[in-house]
């Protein structure tokens, strides 16, 4: 009987081991650059430093608020943590042509990709937007958050800093 209990516990430990590792940022999903070139999602890299991935659209007010708000502190964030923000637009053919003028007109300093048929959105289980992820230096998803109201950017950078502190330990 003891053996059985032991085995069951062992199995649970083994299965729990699966969950110890976080899911990774998908690397084989097709995205478009603002120049119209098709690339695979493995281009999303930051030399082993954290990446913030934010799903947005030109018509989404809270998304625009998020990206406008972060713009004000982005330089500071980059200096302190080396973090990079990658903004993935889910605008479809109705408005995907507007993404480049929209981002440049608003002076967004981010790396931007188009996901016009929402392949990346589905691969990352995104429903409503904004939906923001933090990816660690190994490409693992360590945090995600939906919605944005003023002040949420502080939580985001805190999480990035926590991540850096933990990786130094």
């Amino acid at each position: 009987m003891k053996k059985i209990i032991f085995t069951i516990i062992l199995s649970f430990v083994a299965i729990a081991g699966i969950n110890a590792q976080n899911a990774k940022l998908p690397d084989n999903i097709s995205l478009k650059t603002l120049d119209g070139q098709t690339v695979q999602s493995s281009v999303i890299q930051n030399d082993g430093r954290p990446i913030i991935v934010s799903f947005w659209a030109t018509w989404c007010k809270p998304c625009n608020l998020e990206l406008n708000t972060i713009k004000e502190v982005y330089e500071e964030w980059q200096e302190e943590t080396g973090v990079k923000l990658v903004a993935i637009s889910i605008d479809d053919a109705r408005s995907s042509n507007r993404v480049k003028p929209h981002a440049e007109g608003k002076k967004w300093p981010y790396e931007i990709y188009l996901d016009p048929n929402q392949n990346m959105k589905r691969a990352m289980n995104v429903g409503d937007i904004p939906h923001t992820f933090i990816i660690d230096g190994n490409g693992e998803i360590v945090y995600q958050h939906t919605t944005f109201v003023d002040g949420d950017e502080e939580e985001l950078i805190e999480k990035v800093k926590e991540l850096l502190e933990n990786s130094e330990k």
């Binding site: 009987m1 053996k3 059985i4 085995t7 199995s11 083994a14 299965i15 081991g17 699966i18 590792q21 976080n22 899911a23 998908p26 084989n28 097709s30 120049d35 119209g36 070139q37 098709t38 695979q40 493995s42 030109t58 018509w59 007010k61 809270p62 998304c63 608020l65 479809d92 053919a93 109705r94 408005s95 995907s96 042509n97 507007r98 480049k100 003028p101 440049e104 007109g105 608003k106 002076k107 016009p116 048929n117 929402q118 392949n119 691969a123 289980n125 995104v126 429903g127 409503d128 937007i129 995600q144 939906t146 919605t147 944005f148 109201v149 003023d150 002040g151 949420d152 502080e154 939580e155």
Partner: protein, 556 residues
């Protein structure tokens, strides 16, 4: 007995060990999302909400994705017990079960998917399968989809399948082939060129068996329907420094269908978009002409299902309630139009920029019908159209938005818009409606803990409510909204839309929401108009309702 226990224990250990090894070495992961929406609605003839015999309506879905190295697999469970208001026809949506499943193998050179898949060729003029959960739309293909990338910059796609139709699959078979070349990747001397060039072309064919359609004037004449209908498109995407140009032209063979009343005219569509952008300033112009381009896998289908292609409206997608009260709906059978966008950030420290700078955006659009001449009815060419000559005005709008940070705590966005709307785009005859809309949106970051948002909207319209038109949007409207975000997790919002002049209706709504990481719960009570709703820091499409709504979404 002891032997059995030992065997069972051994088996369990082997299975667990194997699972752990497979997971540990190859890094298999399960992720997913879950969503449920509940509605308890009472009849309200004034706002058009229906009585709900079941007392409680529910839409739910769960998506599970499994990823292990180059392999991935997905399952989606959907339930409509019974479908939320607005999901019509109800009897077709009703049900529950596995709605989507796939297996996929992907390397940097190859992606093969078997099962349900979503794909788009170019801008989608000849093929786009996609889903929109809030509109109840899913035209995914069940079949096989292959994407091959032999060298960097070249993509070839091939697919075949049948389209999802509620809980079944349509009879028509869809096959497609598409190729795209990025010259900057393929031609070495162009790698660092300021000129960025991408070409693409695709072909889609649909097969559908025969059916009996008569010509009304000669009831003994049965139409000789084409079983295979082809559509092709070519596209170009180029940029040079600050300038961009995107264009796509599509043509479709004879495709008599319920949409065009079984005429044999060929279809065509052209989209051109040109833009200039630099940091802080951008301008973009887009033009489109669509002639008989409705393309479905079942010719007799109407409504929103079974489209193979996607021809979107080029008008701006507005999000404020009164700006989207009279939305333009694209006319796949024939329309032409233009739209222009200008965005300018007035620099900080300038006369109009002030301490924080000011963002200006300007947009206008004009959409008309085609200038057509009838040449016959069902079974003939149908009509001819003049290429550059316009028909009736369908829609026009003009909007200016000014966004300004007033100080470290206050941000103001003010919008003015003028719209002309032809009810014919929604299938009703009637005179043009002219609307003026004013909006003020103020956010106030009181402190770290409390954030407030106020929205005031006004719509003045020359449309009037009459028993015959029964348009619930008619008349003049005012709206107020207060949203209060408490800490990092909670929000409360209250809003009211009221018709004060020759209109009917009073839409009041109270919502409370809780948000933690990727989980969100919202409870609402009141009268809700259908449309895009952006409160609590998120945007979603909602159906018309009168009563209690509950929604839960989570991703893991």
């Amino acid at each position: 007995m002891k032997v059995i226990y030992r065997l069972a224990a051994l088996l369990l250990l082997v299975v667990a060990g194997f699972t752990a090894r497979a997971q540990g070495i190859a890094g298999g992961h399960i992720t997913g999302s879950f969503q449920t929406d509940l509605q308890m609605s009472h009849a309200d003839s004034v706002i058009g909400a229906q009585d709900v015999d079941e007392k409680l309506l529910l839409n739910a879905r769960a998506d599970i994705l499994y990823q292990n190295g180059n392999f991935s697999a997905g399952l989606r469970f959907e339930a409509y017990q019974n479908p939320l208001l607005g999901f019509e026809p109800k009897n077709l949506y009703k049900g529950q079960g596995l709605a989507n499943y796939f297996l996929s193998y992907s390397t940097d050179k190859l992606t093969v998917t078997a099962g349900n898949f979503y794909e788009q060729f170019g801008s989608g003029m000849i093929l786009r399968t996609y889903e929109d959960r809030y509109l109840g739309l899913d035209n995914s293909l069940l079949g096989v989809n292959v994407a091959f990338r032999p060298v960097n910059g070249v993509t070839i796609k091939a697919l075949a399948g049948k389209q999802r139709y509620y809980w079944n699959y349509a009879d028509g078979i869809v096959r497609g082939l598409d190729g795209e070349v990025n010259l900057n990747s393929v031609v070495k001397s162009m790698a660092d060129s300021k000129l960025r060039l991408t070409f693409g072309a695709g072909f889609v064919s649909k097969y559908e068996g025969d059916e009996t359609i008569f010509q009304p004037e000669n009831p003994e004449y049965k139409l000789n329907l084409p079983h295979n209908v082809g559509a092709g498109a070519a596209r170009l995407d180029m940029s040079y420094g600050n300038w961009t140009l995107q264009t796509e032209y599509a043509r479709k063979g004879q495709d008599p269908s319920a949409d065009n009343d079984y005429i044999y005219r060929e279809g065509e569509a052209l989209m051109v978009s040109a833009g200039y952008s630099q940091s802080g300033f951008s301008a973009q112009v887009q033009a489109k002409r669509v002639d008989n381009m409705s393309f479905r896998s079942v010719r007799s289908q109407s409504g929103q299902m079974l489209y193979i292609n996607y021809i979107p409206a080029i008008t701006k997608q507005h999000t404020y309630a009164f700006l989207s009260l009279y939305p333009y709906a694209t006319q796949t059978t024939g329309e032409m139009g233009m739209q222009a966008d200008v965005i300018y950030s007035i620099p900080k420290g300038s006369l109009f920029g002030g301490k924080y700078g000011t963002d200006l955006s300007f947009n206008c659009a004009v959409i008309t019908g085609l200038d057509t001449t009838q040449v016959g009815g069902r079974g003939t060419e149908g009509y001819t159209s003049k290429w550059l000559s316009t028909g009736d005005l369908y829609y026009g709008d003009f909007s200016v938005e000014v966004a300004k940070k007033l100080n470290s705590k206050l941000k103001l966005t003010a919008t003015y818009a003028y719209q002309v709307f032809n009810p014919v785009v929604e299938g009703h005859a009637g005179s043009l409606h002219h609307n003026n809309v004013l909006i003020a949106d103020l956010t106030w970051k009181v402190n770290k803990q409390h954030r407030l948002r106020f929205e005031a909207e006004w719509l003045g319209s020359d449309s009037r409510y009459t028993a015959t038109s029964a348009d619930r949007r008619a008349g003049d409207w005012v709206m107020g909204l207060v949203e209060w975000n408490i800490g990092r997790h909670w929000f409360v919002s209250a809003s009211d839309q009221y018709a004060y002049n020759d209109g009917i209706g009073n839409y009041y709504n109270l919502s409370v929401g809780y948000n933690h990481q990727a989980t969100r719960v919202t409870v609402g009570y009141g009268k809700q108009r259908e449309g895009l709703l952006c409160i609590g820091g998120v945007c979603r499409q909602v159906p018309a309702s009168n009563g209690l709504t509950f929604s839960l979404t989570t991703s893991f």
